[in-house]
Amino acid sequence: MIGLEALYTIAGLMFAAFALFNLTDRTNPRRVVNFAFWMIYAATFLFGAMLPHFVTGCLAITLALTAGSGKLGRGKTEERRATALERRDVGAPRLGNRLFLPALLIPAVTLAGTFALKHASFIDTKSVTLISLVLGTLVAFGVALVMLRDSPVHGLREARYTMDAVGWAAILPQMLAALGALFAVAGVGGVVSGLVTTWMPVDSPIAIVVAYTVGMALFTMIMGNAFAAFPVMTAGIGLPLIVHQFHGNPAILGAIGMLSGFCGTLMTPMAANFNIVPAALLELKDKNGVIKAQWPTALLLLVVNTVLMAVLVFRY
């Protein structure tokens, strides 16, 4: 049966290839550090299911220390760019808009696969979206190779430069998930909701609504994830005060509460896969560039959500 482990093997092999390309890059004086970094990351993908969690944990912390020490280097890319530019100006006119085809195949196959493979017996149906995404990527890669008459080695080697530009930000979402897990084990959520409820003015419904929506946004900013904040804030304020004491509508509470959390997601570097990874992917100098483009909309929407909640939740 095809499941997540098969996908992780493919990804692991790709990271291993990135590591090897780094090792042979003589323009990078720290190529050995880069090699070690991507090789360790590759190992967590290839052997993650077999290794004891303690060993994987040591590997993850090694990655963090390597990145944190600022020892990751970058190869020089000027020469590569000059030769690459030539090819671009030849390729684009020849193929025209057909160049878009492989790029659009990724979402198209992902979508088709999500529906078509839902009941297939040879795959793990729990992970059907991810399997479809990887399938779409492989199909697109194959079509691109045939259409462009290019070699897969070129694709991997070029991708390695982007991966090095992304660097440690690639690992951040997984480390944040680990932090979230430790928060959960240590009971951070309970302490926060305890603090919130002791400081709450419990007699004014409007004040409680404000505390709930703003609290959702703030706690999401700390956790980096509205899904982690939602149960804590809703159990602490939403249900006991808004629903039980003031008879608010729980469906409205849940919907708008979650959306208030999303406003927080837009404003925090802790939501790395939405905010920090794209900044790296688009080669922004400012890692907080995406957050800076988002925060005015996020704050206005938090006000909108608070007003909507105050108007709607007690009425329906």
Binding site: G91, E158, A170, A178, V185, A255, L282, A293
Partner: protein
Amino acid sequence: MLVLIGVAIVVIGFALRFNALLVVTVAGLATGLAGGLNLVDIVSAFGKAFTENRYMGLIWLTLPVIALLERNGLKEQARRMIGRVRAATAGRVLMLYFVIRQVTAAVGLTSLGGHAQMVRPLIAPMAEAAAANRHGELPEAVRQQIRANASAVDNIAVFFGEDIFIAIQSILLIKGFLEQNGIIVEPLQVSVWAIPTAIAALLIHCTRLALFDRRLARNFATPVHKDSR
């Protein structure tokens, strides 16, 4: 109270702009210690979460495809295509993507988009090219701002579109949580209440994009087209 030390480390660490990966790791270690775990358990917790969340790294598999296409002129073609559309501006390109992304997310097609699949190869180059066609070569700082805006559109449109769909993870989480607390709601009852905020998000963000266009027009002269007077 002591377990909140991790939260404090995160806030201070990010404020002082230390390496985020390092900050998060230290915060995790400190939280674990404050919570009374021993070091082996903490490191194991790291390993367990790291392993279980490997799916987050699968997005990088799209890089070789995109690298191959970019090597063969994908961005240049995106520019050429947008150059043929006289009415295109950076703001309008992003507004159109916002609407498409939000509407498709609202009917459950959240995978039709994303930073690696759509924004980096297609949307960001189109927005940049539309601005360059209007205002000539732009300074690097402005081009970075346009790219940041492209990513922001993807996030905002999907966040405030997907909750209208009844089978999305967050709606199921809300339903599940309320159920655990003895309140039964249908997914549709929850998801309709995401519609007002979705409309507000559309209006607010598209207004901001229009203002962004205005700012570009004010700061950078528009080259006059020969046949457009």
